[in-house]
């Protein structure tokens, strides 16, 4: 179908309206100091994790090479955060540990969204028995305490990085399914969807073109906040020995092994704890900001 000049016009208008919207969002975001600080913290950790081998003089120690002659050194210029029980630079371990902790955070949310969003959209869009079946399945998952379920799955699959991720994602997706379903239910009754139906647009197209873009806002908010929680859960699983295995660095693992030395040598577990704390907090604040920014009411009020 060829585009009529009129069509182009409509699209351009729509586009410029959208730009307007984005600019407003960005403006609101820039006024939110906490959100900016959070973003800086997160970027710092992400960059630190990605470029860890170039940012520390001790990349081998970050990867796990022991350096036993310098065991348990307190913080100094040479080792700003001290060294651990095998003499490895704690800062290097934190940077490298970010690789597993942060990727658990991002990937878990990504995987959970990948499963949860389509299921939620289908359930909400079609309703009826499909909805019933899918929602009862999510109920089953939600009725387990999330950490317990993740631990059980991780234990069953065996300790490793990938399994930890799968285990957490499995406990996480129902939240997205529910969120998306609720949004879809209300969208489905709105005029623009009804209109699409009436001119014979296919179901798939309606879901992809009209429903998903409209549910992404809340999902984005939820996802941002969840990254922090997923990192914490990953740390908890590592903490009990089921996650990442030594000598790979991981914040949760660092806390669990450093904990017994905490009284006399707090820098080791303390640094890892601070890293988790900062990142989790930053993602939470960022999630708040994203919510405020994407919601026109709070944005303009801010």
């Amino acid at each position: 179908m060829a585009l009529s000049p009129n069509d182009v016009d409509v699209r351009a208008q729509r586009r410029s309206a959208r730009y307007q919207e984005y600019r407003l969002m960005l403006g609101a975001f820039r006024r939110d100091i906490l959100a900016l600080i959070s973003l800086v913290i997160i970027l710092a950790f992400v960059i630190g994790a990605i470029f860890a081998p170039w940012l520390t003089p001790y990349p081998d120690q970050g990867r796990g090479e022991p350096n036993i002659l310098e065991k348990f050194q307190p913080p100094s210029w040479k080792h700003p955060l001290g060294t651990d029980y095998l003499g490895r630079d704690v800062l290097a371990r934190i940077l490298f540990g970010g690789r597993s902790s942060l990727s658990i955070g991002f990937l878990v949310v990504f995987l959970a969204g990948l499963i949860g969003i389509p299921l939620g959209a289908i359930a909400g869009f079609y309703g009826g028995w499909i909805d019933e079946v899918l929602m009862r399945i999510t109920d089953v998952f939600l009725s387990f305490p999330p950490l317990l379920l993740a631990v059980a799955i991780a234990a069953a699959l065996g300790p490793s990085f990938v399994n930890t991720m799968i285990a957490i994602a499995v406990t996480w997706w129902p939240w997205y399914a529910r969120l998306v379903r609720a949004q879809t239910l209300s969208l489905r009754e709105q005029y623009f969807i009804q209109a699409a139906h009436s001119i014979g647009v296919g179901d798939l197209t309606i879901i992809l073109r009209h429903i998903l873009p409209n549910v992404l806002g809340p999902v984005l908010v939820q996802g941002t906040m969840d990254i922090g929680s997923a990192i914490l859960t990953g740390a908890a699983i590592s903490f009990i020995g089921l996650g990442v295995q030594p000598p790979t660095a991981d914040w949760g693992k660092m806390i669990s092994t450093g904990r017994i030395y905490f009284i006399e040598r707090p820098w080791f577990a303390g640094s890892a704890g601070a890293a988790i704390f900062l990142v989790a907090l930053a993602f939470n604040l960022l999630g708040d900001a994203v919510r405020d920014v994407t919601d026109p009411r709070t944005r303009r009020g801010a």
Partner: protein, 556 residues
């Protein structure tokens, strides 16, 4: 929005402190507080468990002086005296007694009489006569006599689990009279040593055992001839023993009325308890924290040689470790000296073969592998792996920092040989199950501590390396008929000709070392931490981590 922000801050902080400080100080400073009203740190008690009705009242400050508190790092898996083969001996050794007792190293005599006052054997050590102590009573009032000895040992044998195999040579037990018992053996064996074993050699009341059976004992009961009996037991959390007034040894002023085991698997909690004075004795503290304890005047750190060693059993039936040259290469790849000196700060000595130093059957002449990567490389090349190129799975018990560090250090060394060591922490039971699951499925390297049941090299050489059809502890899957024959012969001789037996045991160890069946990492030092006012403690490596509370007093 502001509220939400505050909330996440609080939750974040809480989570971090929770993770970091799991079971950390309730009393923040280290001032030696005299016994406080309540044991403060008990976070290991599962909060879901309803308090058992049998739970002992908290010892009050006044009564605390007569109570000995042992902060114990493990649970008690089996309190049945016929079956127990684990850490339960800390409890059971205070309740039950054996015919003979293995004296701590440095004593004039090897053995001390306990329930037997004297014993003798015929020339070839196939007939042993024990004369029993008179006037001894079990804690249920039953008399101790030859029939009780016969019953206990036969019952333990019949049930046949744990260390019951130590009685294998016994064919028949004859009650000569009330206080004389005669053992007829099917082959020569050192029955005087066997009778001193820290497991499976306890004499218990036949009446109680017949009436109640195993489960009753595990509910927290014991009926022995010893100085203390179990008063209450809150499984996994606390066990209280109280003194048996009719103990044959009698009671003197100053001995403890009660012995309390506070169970916590968390070393941080154990350290807190000993530092605050809520506990009098403990072990298994993080070794790197010991220096600080050494400096304190109210705490004594006991360091003694033990009969315990750490081995890395190599799966000898799974390629590439089925090749002797590869196993030898591995044996040359570990930096023994550096690890012991620097990481362990001298808490161990490198082993000479599987039998620990200080025990008979040990020889300093035996070959020790040393750290030599060139040699390892050369051996690997001979075996057809000039650049390594294979993976090995190493499992360790989660929470054992020594085993974990060993894995991490070794991984770095093996990487230089092109071998990828996968280091994986598992619960002890899980890794044992995996190790027993058959040579193809089992891990390549299984690190394990071993200590003897009765003091004979046979305990080490048989349990871990003798051919087994159903694998129990031969987790190297080692099979060597010549070796089996040597140690079986040596064992038979160890009752009559201990010198000849020793020679054969040493001969057998040479085979193991040459075959590089395992890495013999180190003999462990026993480290126990006690309050300075506890007097009379002597470590006895034959009964690891057992405190004979009867011998202790509290200085005032």
């Amino acid at each position: 929005m502001k509220k939400k922000w505050l909330w996440s801050l609080i939750v974040g902080l809480l989570l971090v402190t929770m993770l970091v400080q799991c079971g950390s100080p309730a009393q923040p400073t280290a001032t030696p507080a005299p016994p406080t009203q309540e044991p403060s740190a008990k976070p290991t008690t599962p909060p879901t468990q309803p308090p058992a009705s049998t739970q002992a009242p908290e010892p009050t400050a006044a009564a605390r002086a007569n109570v000995f508190v042992y902060a114990h790092p493990t649970t008690f898996p089996d309190l049945d005296p016929a079956k127990s083969y684990s850490n339960d001996s800390a409890v059971l050794s205070n309740c039950y007694e054996t015919l003979t007792f293995y004296n701590p190293p440095g004593s004039k005599e090897l053995l001390k009489p306990v329930l037997a006052t004297s014993w003798e054997s015929n020339a070839d050590a196939t007939e042993w006569t024990f004369h029993l102590r008179k006037g001894v009573k079990f804690q249920d009032g039953e008399p101790f006599n030859a029939a009780a000895v016969k019953y206990s040992i036969e019952k333990t044998k019949e049930i046949g689990v744990g260390a019951a195999y130590i009685w294998d040579p016994v064919e028949d037990i004859e009650v000569v009279d009330d206080y004389t018992v005669k053992f007829h053996l099917s082959y020569p064996a050192p029955l005087d040593l066997i009778a001193s074993s820290g497991y499976a050699a306890w004499i218990y009341s036949p009446k109680a055992y017949e009436e109640h059976g195993s489960d009753w004992f595990n509910e927290g009961h014991c009926v022995g001839t010893g100085p203390y009996t179990i008063e209450s037991y809150d499984r996994g959390s606390r066990l209280v023993m109280t003194r048996f007034d009719d103990y044959w040894g009698g009671w003197k002023e100053g001995q403890f009325d009660k012995v309390v085991f506070e169970i916590s698997e968390d070393p941080v909690v154990l350290q807190q308890m000993i530092e605050s004075g809520t506990a009098d004795f403990t072990y298994s503290l993080p070794p790197d924290n010991l220096d600080a304890l050494d400096a304190r005047e109210d705490i004594v750190v006991y360091r003694n040689p033990s009969f315990q060693n750490l081995l890395g059993l190599l799966n000898t039936q799974k390629p590439p470790l089925d090749n002797k040259l590869v196993r030898q290469a591995l044996s040359y790849s570990f930096p023994y000296k550096q690890f012991i000196d620097v990481v362990m700060k001298g808490r161990a000595v490198q082993s000479h073969g599987p039998v620990p130093a200080g025990m008979w059957g040990h020889s300093d002449e035996l070959f020790q592998y040393y750290y030599d990567l060139d040699k390892a490389k050369q051996l690997l090349a001979e075996a057809g792996y000039p650049n390594g190129g294979f993976d090995l799975l190493y499992t360790y018990a989660t929470g054992d920092m020594d085993e974990q560090q060993l894995g991490e250090v070794w991984k770095a060394e093996l990487a230089k040989l092109g071998i990828n060591l996968k280091v994986q922490g598992m619960s002890w039971e899980a890794q044992w199950e995996l190790a027993k699951s058959g040579p193809e499925k089992a891990q390549d390297i299984f690190v394990m501590y071993w200590w003897p049941d009765y003091i004979s090299p046979y305990s080490f050489l048989y349990s871990m390396f003798h051919s087994e059809d159903e694998i129990l502890f031969n987790l190297a899957y080692y099979r060597n008929p010549k070796y089996d024959e040597l140690i079986d012969k040596a064992n038979e001789l160890s009752g009559s000709d201990r010198k000849k037996a020793e020679e054969l045991f040493i001969e057998a160890q040479k085979i193991l070392i040459d075959d590089a069946v395992a890495l013999f990492f180190y003999d462990v030092q026993n480290i126990h931490v006690a309050r300075a006012d506890i007097k009379g403690y002597v470590d006895n490596p034959a009964y690891p981590h057992v405190v004979f509370a009867y011998q202790l007093t509290r200085a005032r």
